[in-house]
Amino acid sequence: MELDSLYQEVILDHYKSPKHKGLSEQKDIQVHHNNPSCGDEVTLNLLMSGQIVKEISWDGIGCSISMASASVMSELLIGKSYQEAIKILDAFVELMQSKGQSVGDENLLEDGVAFAGVSKFPARIKCALLGWMAFKDASAQVMA
């Protein structure tokens, strides 16, 4: 069923047990992003240590896709350099825009490739990007 390509087991797992959810005290910056058409919200705390993403913590309400994606994003980007993080982020965005034509680079995206199927559902792409865009915004502000 087409649905299974959207709701990969990995996604449902992250949804049920999200990583780095719950806002940590330590942060350089806090950003709040939402998706007004469906009401999903993410608040993200980012702590950088020089060029390194030291800590990401987040909280939010939203669908399985948006919550799982925020979970995968934080797991993936913590510990990476700013440059690496943005490279991964760009790869994820590209995957989302692939209209089902790409499977994603597993070396780069790890669990993130589970979201490949989302790209076939235009209405859900925004969900998958919510947490990522929050990170992009937060890190750009800290690095500015």
Binding site: G39, G62, S64, I65, R124
Partner: protein, 415 residues
């Protein structure tokens, strides 16, 4: 007492579509927009094919015929809501209708103008289209926005109506039927209170006029708005109705051609209603299409449509009550209730519910339904909403209930 409208389904071309594989389309998103019968599509096309030209402007045959078609559409709409012909204004949508009336009521040159010290009353379950224009009017004018609270089962709490609607109240803007709960508001109580203090009542009839008989005189309201696209009509056309005496006293909100009495470089004076409120070359083909939609609704019969939707609503409410972990948001009984059912599935976000239903060919709406303050109040992230029109049938409800069970299985609810 079940009503059989099955013979009409064939008139709606889109309902023959297959979606997501080989599933027949089950369209239960009528609260957002309705589908169109062939006669409506043809009315719009035929306008372009045979008489298209600018109404009220040309000295030629096409202009005569287009004007005639456009003004007949107005008459037809007026009859549909029990109004006088010249009280019916074609807008682009209910949203525009409501914004227009808010601008007009706030114009200092309107005899009836809202200003600092005045109060505007809405409810907590308004659609954004009947909330934000009033917030903005309050902001522009210095008037105060106040609102009816909502009870737990999704009805308007009128217990404080005597203080809420008071001598300062100039406008009460209220929905006729909630687009989230399907509840119909206690309008008589509200219009009485409003008129007793000299306030006008603006009715958002988006979810009522397309589904049951609405008569502006019987309802005793002062302004009324609805969208054509939810009433089997084309997109891009809505209705604003206002009492003659009030329209006379109001400044228009949109300015341009065909709405003037005279114009100089320094200023302009206005034609009479409805012209005054219809600046520019109007949405003629859409008005004519909406008129065809009204013909279609009249042909089926508004009573029958309301009865049919009640049957479907009851079937769905009964069905959901038998599924554990699935809750109806809004009244469980059939009293003062239209064909809109919101529900939640434990632990599954509405967006995910909608996605699974979509996989079975079932189109519903998920989210906050443009009633965000209401969702906050209910502490909900959103709901899944099924809403009906005349072409839905009992098998659609059966399919929906079965698919809800699949949602539970898919997301392992209760496991």
């Amino acid at each position: 007492m079940s009503v059989d409208l099955s013979k009409y389904k064939k008139d709606f071309p889109i309902l023959h579509r297959k979606v997501r594989g080989d599933n027949p389309l089950i369209y239960l998103d009528n609260g957002a927009t309705s589908q169109k019968p062939e006669s409506v599509i043809a009315a719009e096309s035929n306008f372009y094919r045979t008489i298209n030209s600018a109404v009220h402007r040309g000295a030629h045959l096409l202009a005569e015929e287009a004007s005639q078609a456009y003004e007949s559409a107005r008459e037809n709409l007026a009859n549909f809501i029990g109004a006088k012909t010249d009280e019916v204004i074609f807008t682009k949508s209910a949203t525009e209708s409501l914004n227009m009336i808010a601008y007009s009521l706030g114009n200092p040159d309107s005899k009836f103008n809202v200003s600092a010290g005045d109060e505007i009353v809405v409810s907590e379950m308004e659609h954004h289209a009947n909330l934000i224009p009033w917030q903005q009017l309050a902001k522009r004018s210095g008037a105060k926005l106040r609102w009816f609270s909502i009870t737990k089962d999704g009805r308007i709490d009128t217990s404080n109506i005597d203080t809420l609607i008071n001598k300062k109240t100039k406008v009460v803007a209220i929905t006729h039927q909630s687009n989230v709960f399907g509840t119909i508001v206690p309008l008589t109580e509200i219009t009485k209170a409003a008129h007793a203090v000299g306030a006008v009542v603006v009715l958002d009839a988006c979810q009522s006029a397309p589904h049951f008989a609405v008569d502006v005189k019987k309802l005793d309201v002062d302004f009324l708005a609805f969208s054509g696209h939810k009433a089997l009509g084309p997109t891009g056309v809505g209705i604003l109705w206002g009492r003659t005496e009030l329209l006379e006293k109001l400044e228009p909100a949109l300015f341009g051609g065909s709405m003037v009495d005279s114009v100089s470089m320094e200023g302009a004076t206005w034609a009479k209603a409805p012209r005054k409120f219809e600046a520019g070359v109007p949405n003629m083909a859409q008005a004519v299409g909406l008129s065809a939609a009204i013909d279609y609704l009249n042909m089926v019969g508004m009573e029958k449509i309301a009865g049919h939707e009640a049957d479907l609503t009851k079937q769905l409410l009964d069905g959901i009550s038998k599924i554990s972990g699935v809750d109806v948001i809004g009244p469980l009984d059939m009293k003062d209730r239209g064909g809109v059912v919101s529900f939640t599935v434990d632990g599954v976000h509405p967006h995910d519910v909608g996605q699974v239903l979509d996989q079975y060919g079932i189109a519903v709406r998920t989210g906050h339904h443009c009633a965000w303050p209401l969702m906050r109040k209910l502490n909900l992230v959103g709901t899944t909403r099924a809403s009906f029109h005349l072409y839905n049938d009992s098998s659609d409800i059966t399919a929906l209930l079965a698919a809800i069970e699949q949602v539970k299985i898919y997301f392992k609810v209760g496991k």
